[in-house]
């Protein structure tokens, strides 16, 4: 399956992926309107120490621990292999956060879990990938 992969070598630490993610998942058409004055809760985040930068988002693991741990059945793998979250089912227990080895799960003020769903609802090509200025984030098939 196509996943979001990160080429650390090319990550500039610009953090645009976070903003593009937040915008894309806001459901609002204008980025300014969507993000102006807001604390963003992107599903991808950049980790850096000044020299090294890279973005982290859900790996859509083959055998996702988050799903194993989900106490409400909110997390599931769809037929494409995408680990998706059903916000109606999520109760915000964060067991998935306790289990995700990559720190790829976050929450917002609604206390339900936010995670990368590969922009399946936003047109198919993840916004972080589309907006990455240096192809540090790519959306592709990788040999397993």
């Amino acid at each position: 399956m196509k996943r979001v992969y990160v080429n650390e070598e090319w990550c500039l630490g610009c953090h645009l992926c976070e903003y593009n993610c937040a915008f894309s998942n806001s459901g609002i058409k204008d980025m300014v309107k969507a993000l102006k004055g807001k604390k963003i809760t992107p599903r991808i985040h950049v980790e850096d120490d000044g020299k090294i930068h890279y973005a982290v988002s859900c790996r859509h693991c083959e055998d996702p621990l988050c799903i194993k741990g989900c106490i409400s059945g909110a997390l599931s793998k769809d037929e494409n292999g995408v680990v998706a979250i059903d916000h109606d089912k999520c109760v915000g227990c964060l067991t998935c956060m306790l289990l995700c080895p990559y720190g790829s799960i976050t929450t917002d003020e609604n206390e339900t879990v936010l995670k990368c769903e590969l922009c399946m609802q936003n047109g198919g090509i993840p916004a972080c990938v589309q907006g990455c200025p240096n192809r540090a984030i790519v959306f592709e098939e990788v040999e397993e």
Binding site: R3, Y5, V6, N7, E8, E47, D48, D49, I52, Y54, V56, R59, C61, E62, L65, K68, G69, C70, I71, S72, G73, D88, K89, V91, G92, C93, L94, T95, C96, M97, L98, L99, C100, P101, Y102, G103, I105, T106, E111, V142, E143, E144
Partner: protein, 412 residues
Amino acid sequence: MKYVIIGNGPAAVSCVDGIRSVDNEGSITILSKEAHPAYFRPLISYYLEGKSKEENIYCRRADFYQKNHVETVLGEAVAIDKENRIVALNSGENIAYDRLCICSGSSPFVPPMKGLETVEKKFTFLTIDDSFALEQAVDKNSRVLIIGAGLIGLKCAEGLRDRAGKVTVCDLAPRVLSSILDDECAMVVQKHLENCGIAFSLANTADHFNGNTAYMKDGSVIDFDVLVLALGVRPNIGLFKDAGGECDRAIIVGNDMKTSIDDIYAAGDCVEQYDISFGNKRIMALLPNANIGGYTAGVNMAGGKALFDNAVPMNSIGFWGLHIMTAGSYANDGSAQMTEIKDESGIKRFFIKDHKLNGFMIIGDVKSAGIFTNLLRNQTDLSDMDFEALIKSPNLLPFGENYRRKTLRGVV
């Protein structure tokens, strides 16, 4: 091949998944005591709280049993004839198996208490039917007394707060969540719950009851309308024990989820298995373990090969915005070295043994805690890792470029 599963909870349906990942042919029969499809037990408090709708509590889609060719039989198993590989039901029916998995879960533990029989509205809190009953019993004016400040008691308190007039929790232990938190952390949680409107009476419990009045150990009196008994659970192991299987407090299984009896497996809350953090066999009655254990059992039953060899106890619970995550062993008995961070965002405590993370407890800033769980489950050697930096800011930096290339640039 005939597979029989006793019980119909998460471990049971995961067991079905495990079987079907290897064997699409064999027949599967599930014996269920409850007249519901498998549901997520922890959701019963969220149901009360209104966060979970009834239709959303089920573990699988409605067509799961049909799609997987699973026959469900409503009834209670009363005996296992291991020689003839037969399970006897209370209905008198006998069901033959080639492989059996016991996912019988646990039952509420209610010790004998004086005058309990005089209490009109008294409940335990383990099944969805308990939630339905409480839903009926509690109204805006109800005073609810919950006995037990463990996980079940507190979740019940959270579930009922907005439905009831007053919720009081008492426990013989001097702190809340005594099985997973130390005094200091428990106090943080207790304060938070008190701020959220829950009353506590700790190091104290009901000595006896008379109608709607509880007479407490310390001599005080608590009037209530509804009583919830959340004193703990006991694994349902009678059936297996009677068949001559090896049990401690629960059914003993190996990391392949096999019991001491040939062709009988077990998973979920009714088993005891090796806990890598404590270094011995323990009950880890937790949903992730039930899922993993059930699946592992299923694969092995169907002739595949699977191991569940990194079980640790872990908990993630939250009450009104305060999150608590714990994993592994954090008994501060001096065998492990503790590193902690305390600040306005909360408390983080890490226990390191032989350069490996053996347990942790995080209250408050739980972001990316899974990175620690991962270190714990994999018993990663921390000697070459900047662990100090990691606990300040849990991220993948200290793991090094190779690890990141593998995980962020590859399929995991």
